[in-house]
């Protein structure tokens, strides 16, 4: 094989095919650049965390493992929560959102309330996604929203809540073993929904104890040590060493860099079935000036100072009043996105070094008990049987998490677009329009080649001038032709003929009608013309 030398490469580059290749390469490079720029704005590379499928200290793998251990199916949504609309049994489904790390791509939409096009979408989730989520809750589903400074605002708004978006410092309950970023949220009774409701532990099957004998209803009648199947989803409350069942309705939750709800939006509003349950202490401050420091002022309204507590940090929403109906939808909002990450949730694992070495290890906390309690409340029947539906599942929202690879992000984006266009009304409308235009285009533009057929055609015509014909019908022209005829017959030149006296001409013509025609200048009728022509025709022949 010949080795191509430099000049041949140069020649090739100058040749039309070479130029074409260069142009094509440049085109695709530009296209690639454009695409990556657009994709880059969507995919902001940052740390990958808070994923139920990651095994790092800042992921939620042990929470998911606990759920799976209890025999519950775990599922993920990688594209869009719009898919919640497709869930057949929301009653047996929990949707967990842990940290909403990024915004979404969506179209402007028509909103029914203001009857105008809504150009700006809510933060985090698109309006139709929020609709899908709240619909899900309405149909009996349970959602858990854990977020601090992310994009949970839009979703929380729909439930009448407002994330403040500022970090909370609690001078009383911060963890001195760790640092001020770690704040304890101590709740004496997690089921005191409102000041009037009293403790409603009976709404949770793990704590429901109608006869107040210290044994939960679902374990009534079980003699001896309950098996794990007896314990069902409440096995986390059973201490196998001491063989005791923990009936504590309170939780000591450890939060990391928490935020808090806005004071005005998270107030106790029982009419809305929105129950603020966990509060910071009086001595908690929100870093409203975002200086990263605690600035104590004289009052909350002081412009330069941070706002002072107490702030709601854990709010529970129930479709039914006081969460009485176990089949009604629930929503849990906590102002910390990382309260279920492995390093806090799985203190034993941290101790044993599963997640690597840490300088300080968190104390044991009730985060795990709280999380599994709410799973049990959602999926376990509260009729004393402790039965679990076969369709019970916990769905983790991974659609708003960074993916560990570019491929993964693209894959998710692809699904997002597809699901968005087949579920969001505005997008569906656009898509229908697009399909319609596509079909129109095909029908109008895409024509099959005509069948070949030989056409024999030699038909064309020569002249034919109606104006000329008219001219040849005039008396003057006829007169001229008659005179030429007379001249020809008598073999005279034009000059000789012109010089001829009238009497001579009359003699030559020798026809009174024609003589009269030559000398008389008047209008002739059609019949007269025809008669004259006939006469001229016969004239020469005599």
């Amino acid at each position: 094989m010949a080795v191509p030398n430099l000049s041949s490469v140069g020649n090739w580059l100058r040749s039309p095919s070479g130029k074409r290749m260069i142009a094509l390469t440049l085109f695709y490079l530009t296209l690639g650049l454009l695409f990556s720029t657009v994709a880059g704005t969507y995919i902001v590379r940052s740390e990958v965390h808070q994923s139920a499928y990651g095994e790092d200290w800042n992921d939620l793998s042990s929470f998911r493992a606990d759920i799976k251990e209890q025999g519950i199916t775990t599922t993920s949504i990688v594209s869009s929560p719009l898919l919640l609309e497709e869930i057949q049994s929301p009653r047996d489904t929990v949707f967990v959102v842990s940290g909403i790390e990024r915004d979404t791509i969506s179209l402007p939409r028509f909103s029914a309330d203001s009857s105008v096009i809504q150009l700006v979408e809510g933060l985090g989730y698109s309006t139709s996604e929020i609709e899908a989520i709240s619909n899900f809750v309405e149909r009996g589903g349970t959602i858990v929203v854990l977020d601090d400074f992310g994009y949970a605002q839009g979703l929380a708004d729909d439930f009448g809540l407002g994330y403040s978006g500022h970090q909370l410092y609690d001078t009383q309950t911060w963890d001195p073993d760790l640092d001020f970023n770690y704040v304890w949220l101590n709740i004496t009774n997690g089921f005191n929904y409102s000041s009037t409701s009293g403790s409603r532990t009976n709404t949770n099957p793990c704590l429901a104890d109608a006869d107040s004998d210290g044994t939960p209803d679902f374990l009534e009648g079980i003699l001896g040590v309950p098996t794990s199947s007896d314990l069902a989803l409440c096995s986390h409350r059973w201490d196998s060493i001491t063989a005791t069942y923990n009936m504590d309705p309170g939780y000591d939750l450890l939060l990391n860099q928490p935020s808090a709800f806005d004071k005005d939006s998270a107030g106790e509003n029982a009419d809305d079935n929105l129950y603020p349950i966990g509060f910071s202490t009086q001595d908690a401050y929100l870093d409203t000036n975002n200086d990263g420091k605690l600035t104590v002022g004289f009052s909350g309204t002081d412009a330069g100072s941070d706002e002072q507590g107490p702030f709601a940090m854990y709010v529970k929403y129930c479709r039914s009043r006081n969460c009485d109906n176990p089949d009604s939808g629930r929503a849990y909002f906590v102002t910390d996105g990382s309260m279920l990450v492995n390093s806090i949730y799985d203190t034993e694992g941290v101790e044993s070094g599963v997640y690597g070495e840490f300088n300080k290890t968190p104390d044991s906390n009730d985060n795990r008990r709280w999380a599994l309690d709410l799973i049990a409340e959602a999926l376990m029947s509260n009729d004393g049987n402790g039965s679990i539906s076969e369709e019970a599942q916990v769905i983790f929202d991974e659609s708003r998490h960074q993916q560990p690879s570019f491929m993964g992000d693209t894959y998710n984006l692809l699904y997002y677009i597809l699901i968005y266009f087949t579920n969001d009304w505005m997008a569906m409308l656009l898509m229908f329009l697009g399909l319609f235009v596509l079909f129109e285009f095909i029908i109008i533009k895409k024509l099959d080649p005509e069948p070949w057929r030989h056409v024999f055609s030699i038909i064309y015509y020569g002249y034919g001038d109606s104006r000329r014909y008219e001219y040849y019908g005039r008396a003057n022209k006829i007169k001229q032709i008659l005179l030429t005829r007379v001249r020809n017959v008598n073999s005279l030149t034009r000059e000789e003929f012109d010089a001829l006296p009238a009497r001579e001409l009359q003699k030559m013509v020798n026809d009174p009608v024609l003589v009269k025609f030559i000398f008389e200048d008047r209008r002739y009728s059609m019949e007269e013309i025809i008669a004259v022509i006939k006469r001229i025709k016969t004239w020469g022949r005599r």
Binding site: E86, L418, F421, T422, N423, M428, M431, L435, L438, F439, I442, I443, K446, L447, D448, P449, W452, R453, H454, V455, F456, S457, I458, I459, Y460, Y461, G462, Y463, G464, S466, R468, Y469, E470, Y472, G473, K477, I478, I481, L482, T484, R485, N488, V489, S491, M526, I529, I530, I533, I536, K537
Partner: protein
Amino acid sequence: MWTRKASILGAGGVSLVLVGMMMSNFQMMVFGVAFVAFLAVNSWITGHGDIQVVRTLSADNLYKGDDLYVELEITNPSWRRTQQLEIYDNIPHEMKLRSGLNYMRVNLGPGETTRVRYVLRCPLRGHYSIGPISIRYRDSFNLFSQEMYVDHRSDLIVFPQVREIEEAMVRSRTPKMYTGATTLRTPGPGTEFFSLREYVPGDPFKIINWKAFARTGQLIVNEKCRDAVTDVFILVDSRDISRIGTVLKNPLEVGTVAAASLASYFIKRRDSVALAVYDERLSFLPPDTGDKQYFKILSSLAGVAPKGAMPLQAVTNALSSRFSRGSPVFIISALEGDGTTIPAIRDLAGRGHEVIILSPSSVDFERLVSRIPRTSYEVLKLERQNRLTALAGFGARVIDWMPDVELSQALLQVKMG
């Protein structure tokens, strides 16, 4: 290229999938996927058009109105099936399919050959070319089709018809003056020896008399005697105006037939025939005899097309030096729209030429295509009559040729001045 069906199938498939998703209807989705799969599977079996085509014609030259037999031999030399292949031989519109078809649908296997045979009738003289061969291949389900052509052309000339006019020429008064192939004692290309003369550069070597060269040391050439009696000049009017009438019946068309027939008649008599065709310019074939000249004349007549408006006098002036003395001149013209006709013919006749004017009656040809009012027609005829009479007055022999009169018949109607 995707056909309309494929485009609709593809777009329909994707739409069904999307709408199926919207409505959570699995049937639609399966339909959609199946449609797209149908396209995908079929895209594997597209055909090709790499075929070899050989066209054979029954003749390269033929006379107007004759039949031409065409055969296309199509071979698929590749290892692939062509799939459905449409083969279409492009033939000029002026030709008529007599039998067979210039089109075939085939599906040629590797190495397979097929033949398309058809017969064309050529009702119009002219220079034509058959080809190229258009090819369209597609798959069995008409989803993808591609067009191309094989640039294989065959040229052919359709001569004007040649009519038998010998009898007419014998019976009419016109040809009586030409008494046949009696040797005229003038030098020229011929067979009989005439004289010797000195070599002039440009003379062909084969006529050098080598014996005389050997004898004298000088280059001497044999001069032959011209065979023909006469140089017959045929002037054909191909001006734009000569197209009056239909495409098959107009002064030019019948004029070419007349010119071809006259040329054929005189060349058969071993006369020399010269042809001058004037349209927007003058094209002149110098007098010569023999088959080659005959072919040249026919070929040149095949190519004439009506255009331009060169006056006759310009023609006769240009040719005046070329006209052999006393030779007969045939002028084939409708004599329309040219004021110089009369002086030109008067000059020719004055110079001692026998002028025979064969004039197709353009008014009557015009009547074939447009409705002329009776009076106008009669007046037009009278005017034409005047013109012909005037020409006859200068000693030309004038033939007023009506459209439905045969050439031989017309030649008998010489009108003397």
